[in-house]
Symmetry: C2
Amino acid sequence: MGKKAVVLSSGGVDSTTAMAIALQEGYEIYSLSFRYGQRHVVELESARRVAEVMGAKKHMVMDVDLGKIGGSALTDYINVPKGRDEAEIRQEIPVTYVPARNTIFLSYALAWAEVLGASDIFIGVNTMDYSGYPDCRPEYIKSFEDMANLAIKAAVEGKMQIHIRAPLLRMTKAEIVRKGVELGIDYRLTHSCYDPSPEGKACGQCDACLLRKKGFREAGIPDPAVTF
Amino acid sequence: MGKKAVVLSSGGVDSTTAMAIALQEGYEIYSLSFRYGQRHVVELESARRVAEVMGAKKHMVMDVDLGKIGGSALTDYINVPKGRDEAEIRQEIPVTYVPARNTIFLSYALAWAEVLGASDIFIGVNTMDYSGYPDCRPEYIKSFEDMANLAIKAAVEGKMQIHIRAPLLRMTKAEIVRKGVELGIDYRLTHSCYDPSPEGKACGQCDACLLRKKGFREAGIPDPAVTF
């Protein structure tokens, strides 16, 4: 039986690249996405297609009502910022921050990993996110891993050790894009925009769109999904 | 404005006592319960009544589909063990263990705490649970707290520090019952059974019922909710 990994998938560039890296390392993929009250539910369709095309063993979507808790432009009726330059994006934790989102997502991944007997959980956080969201930083990832190994029966009983794998952590968006292309990812499958049109068209101006644009530009690769 | 606490509430003896302790310490209570696919959904009605009677500022029920993930007698069609003695209950992690349950619950509590500006999260884990569930142990609680303070914006920006409060951690069930009675809790409001009848009657034989019985007996206090 092959080794298994749970991969958190948003259907975006980063998590899709993380999934490709897990595949390359020989893991059987269990893709996990969340319907969490985000404005950009179109990402769930991307995540489903990514899982299918990349041959995930299973794709699961959990319903997580973060909108009920509130506190974010991604789930509340706060305006998503548009047209910011990189210095502005980097300067503070943006209003698109969702309280404890990665902690909640990783907790579900941990539960599923224990049930599956999967020792590895892949998450596509990276250095660009680093600047903004606290739950994308290396010290956070390490701390979650430590906690995870005290939290679950299989780890406490010595049957498995959980590894939170963040292979993109120290990569720029351009390096991620280059890596993904090298691994044969079709980025047409992916979606990044925080504030798409009702038809799913990317806005081209939110932080996620701007970082994506910049990544492809710096990688010297045209974005095959570009619609803006 | 008063200080706020998020209290994880199952409507049972332990979490209700933890809530009473938070109240006594002067916190405004935000009660948080979960519909997680448990067989014993009657506990949600207890949690609602507890929150109401104890004057919680708000009571929130989150839907968390742990049944989809599986791996537990509390959410799957595995038999809940009955009639075990204390040595048997203590001897291993029981099949009623739910993978990563407290991690998922505490993660939601953390998100809500940040949005509310509540620095304290109360959880009713205790030494009796200690024996069984890894995510009730002191080293786990401490580790979650460390992780939490790296996870959320408010903590990373130095605006608040999260404390995971487990005031029952080193108390026996009898001590918990005595404490609760001293604080004026009406334990008729509470529910403990893992496997109640369709009418909500406790089975009297599952681990939760047996620990409850023993606690009241050793405290020398009759259980006002006893129906078995």
